[in-house]
Amino acid sequence: MQASDRFNINSQLEHLQAKYVGTGHADLHRYEWAVNIQRDSYASYVGHYPILSYFALAENESIGRERYNFMQRMLLPCGPPPEREDD
């Protein structure tokens, strides 16, 4: 590997993708994109306590239960992935 390779756009992108979950790429599938957005959203709801309480009020659940539900939904936020046609 040459020194210059480390700085080309692809390796930089790979570095970002490894470091930051959810960094996109050119062949990103709509499903993967949606899953990322959903997981980010749930993490944000869990992180922002006022928003979490707002949801808890709307659903009339305790805040702890709401947090747990959101964490559970992070597993598979958009249902199972679609069948892949191998390319």
Partner: protein, 1212 residues
């Protein structure tokens, strides 16, 4: 437009709480995070929670943890926030501040998925801390001490695992072996790849131990084991000689003990009898109590039941886990067990409480154990219990919490001097209407009628060294009454006071003698009973008196001043006379400075609108030192020493300033600084207090001088956490007052009003509002104020609850089953959650409503008279119907007058998909002068009517994405016209002339116009930003204020030229045919103001909180805080405050490491709003920093403080 944002009431809800010895020593303190505020609380000797310190940190606190280095006496605080930094704080007792010990950056700011800050775990021996994110990242910092015994922190060690969701982390207690951290993890990498959905079913949570090798400085995965898939919380089990080590895994329905090298010990959590079968039981908060010989855990479920968990163990081997029902208290976010035998419960909604332990659950009760765990074909067999009254805990104090504020209206319904803020707070059985009034609460100790109308009152001690007052002296028009203070207060005649004349002043003089000044002379009563009388010359009478302990000045009619001093023998000697140019209106002598013979200053107010400072020094006695002219006649004067800065728990480390306060006839309080050497007056401030000239009295508050000002309402000027505050008291008009100190009441006030003598104390210093609470039945949604009839109409609804009858029935059944023989107390009318109703064996306020299936709704419409706190009419909706919107409407045929429209939904479900059986709009008629309601008719609609509004004698309703105009018919509402072009769901409608401002749940505002000739509704402008609207308010013809779900407040305005074009379009062709791009409206509104509050704003209103003050926008938030946005009126002020804000950002960055500018711009860049909360931290800065900023601004620190005070006084 520039706005000044100021928080009026800081958030009252609590995100998390920890306890420890933060000030060192033995006292137990609690640190609570209230979103963006960090508070330090301490229960005092009387078991009342006191707030020692409250700091706004301009960031979101997500987690807190405390740790102690071995051998140390003091706990440190670790803060996990949205700053992408780990911050370690230490409480500095001397200065009463949190000192930032360490701040280390590890990632991006913001609450992100993989940036740590969500979870914190501490090694129980205080050697390391782990910060975790929701996913992937976990960082471990090693904590140590350097040679100077200062805390050091290492660079972070990674314990990352990608594609892994983390539910909870905690430290494992393994004595002084290498620190271990445990985490509940769930790997999703396979689930993301598997399209069959099998992987999801097979996904398994793991409990993983991470070991920090202190020798190698490295973190490794030590052990990982499968754990129940419902696991959500970890609790450290004491180890290293104190216990078996390991962790408790709290999972849905179970508590499991786990440790490496041991089999799981599992016990089922007992269930409430009335819990529906499909619901699990989840532990939401936990606390550990550890003593030398034993330890136990208190775990609280999502329904509020607390269980005591104990472990049977033998040499680190756990044989049995027992879960015993302990007590039931409202659901908490954190519980703290203090070593002093208290339990602090930080409620998730509603008031927080402090409990005292009566017992620790040793008595037999419902108990589930791992030994008796039964597994059948349907899974593990649960155990059932019925909640009962508190047995082990007793509540001793409450901390008020407004969380969540659901709706708010400002109105002067009670016709008081200032408007009241009506807020709908709380949830379910703990909901309430709270009426907030600016001012301090007082508690009345005694009221006694006097035989006449008194004009003045004083209290005197017999000796300087006495702790308590000896006499209360009351003056009438022609007599003086002396009351002695002892066990009881009774009239005495042997005091030596002259009782046949009115008094002008009564005080202690010298060390142990008393002085009574009456119109004809001065009576000096020596300690041994000798009486010296000084009589006025000729027929002149004394009109005014000013005195301190060693000096007396009297003013005779005609304007002559005579000055007396107490000499060495205790004799009152005439020193000097001085002729003033005219009659004296008022006078006061400054208190004698510590260690001095006399005070140098005499202030004299004259009828020519001037105040003069005269010298009392022997060398220049009665020389005029300075003159100040004022706007009207001064009627009362008071010198007050103010030490307004930080230091000590609420004291000062700066030299005091001497302030001269004057109450002017126009009702203005005039304050000016007196130079301690020259007597020059400078830096004057004035504030309107009320319709009467304020009378000023010196009293003691928390051992410090404070000022009581009696105008048309009483005010208190005092120092709180470094700020001088002038706050109204919520009490009636008083005539005259004096401080009062006795056995029963150390710091009280005695006052006269009318013909009564009143004794009271002032409570909860530092609070802006005091509240009156009226309990409600279900979660309040919205309300309308009927200003003329002085009534409120409130709609309340709750999901997943039983109706009142069902609940009553179930309760009776349960009591009959338990053979208590008590009739529950009775009928449906008494179903209000009457606070601390002692007779109610199972108050819902405490135990919560029994859970029903999630598609069941209960709801009611209530007409409430707030003055008497009585409900005049309560309609409970039947058949799963729930009310969501309400408005009053006058239809143009005027047959019925004002009607009430209520929008309801039947069988509403959010999950898995939002659906309803039907929506309705109810129309009610007011009967008995508005006190009760009668249903006229009910119209079925095809969605949930979330917004209703009157418009030109008709009713506008937002039903789903349809805006529809209705007219009143005989049997139902009649559709007149509609517009279906709104993007999602209409949540708010406001109207002005022929414009309609519609708020969409997701797409901000849409400006519409109704054309009467065509009977059409047109959308002519909308916003280009997708805002998830939570609150909205109409500001002016072109401007709307809104708040979104992410905690932003913003204003949008239609550009002037567009607005003019729309209004000057005579044919209306343009508005009709013009098309927008991409399905949007043809015109766009512009954002003119944007500010991140950091909390979900649930209501907005324009109001003025002070009489004659300018209007500002008041907002209420989910976390229970109230804030105001005030528009600046001058460019100079904008410049000044934006520069002050800039320097404050530079010189005083927020405590928890979030950048202030970035925080206020978290979602959108802040625009034209100056953060008053940051500016108000200026007085808490060290003096040299204050001076530095002041120099940069070309002002003095005093001027800056004055500016801050002035702008605050414009708001409240």
């Amino acid at each position: 437009m520039y706005l000044y944002s100021l928080t009026l009431q800081r958030a009252t809800g609590i995100v998390c709480a920890i306890n420890g010895n933060f000030s060192g020593g033995k006292t137990q303190e609690i640190v609570v995070a209230r979103g963006k505020v960090l508070d330090l609380l301490r229960p005092d000797e009387n078991g009342k929670i006191q707030t020692l310190l409250s700091v706004e940190i301009f960031g979101a606190i997500r987690s807190l943890a405390q740790f102690r280095l071995t051998g140390s006496q003091k706990d440190y605080i670790v803060v996990g926030s949205d700053s992408g930094r780990i911050v370690i704080l230490e409480y500095n007792k001397e200065k009463n501040v949190f000192d930032k010990i360490h701040q280390e950056t590890f990632g991006k700011s913001g609450c992100r998925r993989i940036v740590p800050g969500q979870y914190l775990a501490i090694d129980p021996k205080g050697r390391a801390v782990m910060v975790g994110a929701c996913e992937k990242q976990k960082l471990v910092y090693v904590l140590n001490r350097d040679t100077a015994a200062r805390l050091t922190i290492s660079s972070p060690l990674e314990a990352h695992k990608s594609h892994t969701i983390v539910y909870s982390i905690c430290g494992v207690d393994c004595g002084f072996d290498n620190p271990i951290f445990a985490a509940i993890e769930l790997d999703y990498s396979e689930v993301d790849q598997d399209s069959s959905g099998n992987a999801e079913k097979e996904a398994q949570k793991h409990l993983t131990f991470y070991e920090l090798d202190l020798g190698l400085n490295h973190v490794s995965r030590k052990w990982s084991d499968q754990v129940d898939n419902g696991a959500n919380l970890l609790v450290t089990v004491p180890g290293g000689g104190d216990g078996p080590s390991g962790v408790l895994v709290c999972a849905e329905n179970f508590v499991i003990y786990k440790n490496q090298g041991q089999a799981d010990v599992r016990a089922v959590i007992p269930r409430r009898v009335d819990l529906p079968a499909e619901r699990g039981v989840l532990i939401v908060s936990a606390a550990t109590h550890k003593q030398k010989s034993m330890f136990f855990f208190l775990l609280q479920t999502e329904y509020g039941d607390i269980f005591k968990v104990t472990l049977e163990h033998n040499n680190d081997l756990v044989s049995e886990l027992k879960i015993k029902y302990f007590d039931t208290i409202p659901v908490t976010t954190s519980i703290c067990v203090l070593k002093s035998g208290f339990l602090f419960a930080a409620s998730e909604f509603g008031n927080h409480s402090l409990y005292q332990f009566q017992a620790i659950g040793e008595d037999p009760d419902v108990e589930s154990s791992s030994a008796s765990l039964m597994e059948t074909e349907e899974g593990f067999q649960p155990l059932y219990f019925q909640p009962r009254k508190l047995k082990n805990l007793v509540r001793i104090d409450q901390v008020e919490s407004l969380m969540p504020i659901m709706d708010m209206k400002v109105s002067n319904l009670f016709e008081e001097e200032t408007p009241q803020i009506f807020t709908l707070c709380g949830r379910g059985p703990r909901s309430s209407l709270r009426i907030l009034r600016p001012g301090l609460a007082i508690s009345e100790m005694a009221v006694s009628e006097l035989p006449g109308v008194p004009s003045a009152v004083w209290t005197v001690k017999k000796n300087v060294t006495d702790e308590f007052d000896a006499y209360i002296v009351v003056s009438f028009a022609n007599a003086t009454l002396v009351l002695s203070i002892g066990e009881t207060v009774e009239e005495v005649s042997d005091s030596g006071f002259l009782d046949t004349t009115p008094s002008l002043a009564v005080s202690l003089i010298g060390d142990d003698s008393l002085m009574q000044v009456h119109p004809n002379g001065i009576r000096h009563i020596r300690e041994d009973g000798r009486i010296n009388e000084w009589r006025t010359p000729g027929k002149r009478t004394i009109v005014k008196v000013g005195s301190n302990r060693l000096q007396v000045v009297i003013a005779l009619s005609g304007g002559e001043l005579i000055y007396f001093e107490v000499d060495m023998t205790g004799q009152l000697m005439e020193v000097e006379k001085h002729e003033m140019s005219g009659d004296v209106a008022c006078l006061d002598i400054a208190p004698v400075p510590e260690g001095r013979q006399r005070s140098r200053f005499l202030a004299v107010g004259s009828y020519d609108n001037t105040i003069r400072i005269l010298s009392l020094d022997p060398d220049d006695c009665m020389q005029i030192l300075s003159v100040q002219s004022v706007s009207s006649i001064p009627e009362s004067l008071l010198f007050l020493e103010v030490q307004a800065s930080v230091g000590g728990e609420d004291g000062a480390d700066h030299p005091a300033n001497l302030f001269l306060n004057a109450g002017l006839r126009t009702g203005i309080l005039f304050r000016t600084v007196v130079d301690m050497v020259t007597g020059q007056l400078s830096d004057s401030r004035s504030r309107f207090l009320g319709l009467r000239a304020p009378k000023l009295f010196s009293i003691n508050i928390r051992g410090k001088h404070a000022m009581l000002c009696l105008s048309s309402r009483p005010w208190l000027g005092y120092i709180h956490q470094g700020h001088f505050l002038l706050t109204p008291l919520s009490y009636e008009t008083l005539e005259y007052a004096a401080s009062f100190s006795s056995d029963q009441c150390a710091e009280g006030v005695v006052a006269v009003a009318g013909s009564a003598l009143r004794v009271f104390t002032i409570e909860r210093l530092g609070e802006t509002f005091n509240e009156t609470v009226i309990p409600l039945r279900y979660t309040p949604r919205k309300f309308v104020v009927q200003v003329k009839r002085k009534l409120l109409v409130i709609i309340e609804s709750d999901q997943g609850a039983f109706t009142a009858e069902e609940r009553e029935g179930a309760k009776k059944e349960c009591f009959e089953a338990a053979e208590i023989g008590e009739n529950g107390n009775g009928n449906v009318d008494q179903m209000e959650n009457g606070g601390d109703n002692e007779d109610d064996p199972l108050s819902d306020e405490h135990y919560g409503y029994p859970k029903a299936e999630s598609d069941k709704w209960v709801s009611c419409i209530r007409v409430l008279d707030p003055k008497t706190a009585t409900t005049t009419c309560l309609l409970e909706l039947l058949d799963n119907e729930a009310a969501f919107s309400v408005c009053t409407v006058n239809f143009h045929d005027k047959e019925y007058g004002t009607l009430l429209a209520v929008g309801t939904a039947k069988g509403l479900q959010f999950w898995p998909k939002k659906s309803i059986t039907a929506g309705y709009i109810h129309i009610y008629r007011f009967l008995d002068d508005g006190k009760s309601l009668e249903l006229l008719h009910k119209t079925q609609v095809d969605g949930v009517p979330l917004a209703l509004c009157q418009f030109q004698g008709r009713l506008l309703a937002g039903i789903g994405s349809v805006l529809r105009l209705y007219d009143l018919g005989k049997k139902r509402l009649l559709r007149k016209c509609e517009n279906k072009l709104f993007p999602n769901t209409i949540v708010s409608i406001q109207t002005y002339r022929d414009r309609i401002y519609v708020g969409d749940i997701q797409e901000s505002f849409h400006y519409c116009k109704y054309r009467r000739d065509e009977n059409q509704l047109y959308i002519f402008a909308d916003d280009c930003v997708p805002r998830w609207l939570t609150a909205s308010f109409h500001i002016d013809f072109d401007t709307m204020a809104g708040a979104d779900k992410f905690g932003n407040v913003y204003f949008v305005r239609l550009p002037q030229d567009v607005s003019d074009e729309i209004e000057e379009d005579p044919t209306g062709g343009r508005i009709k045919w013009e098309q927008g791009k991409l399905n949007g409206a043809p015109n766009k509104v512009e954002e003119i103001v944007q500010f991140h509050v950091g909390d979900v704003v649930s209501c907005l209103q324009k109001a003025s909180l002070i009489p004659g003050g300018g209007e500002c926008i008041i907002y209420g938030t989910v976390m229970g805080s109230l804030g105001a946005l005030l528009a600046f009126t001058s460019r100079d002020d904008v410049d000044f405050f934006s520069h002050l804000e800039m320097y404050m950002r530079q010189e005083h960055p927020p405590l928890c490491g979030r950048d202030h500018m970035a925080y206020r711009s978290a979602y959108f860049p802040v625009k034209d709003v100056i953060d008053g909360d940051l500016c108000e931290q200026y007085p808490t800065l060290p003096m040299d920093l204050q001076r530095k900023i002041a120099d940069e601004l070309d002002r003095t620190p005093g001027e800056i403080l004055k500016k801050l005070e002035e702008i605050r006084n414009k708001i409240i």
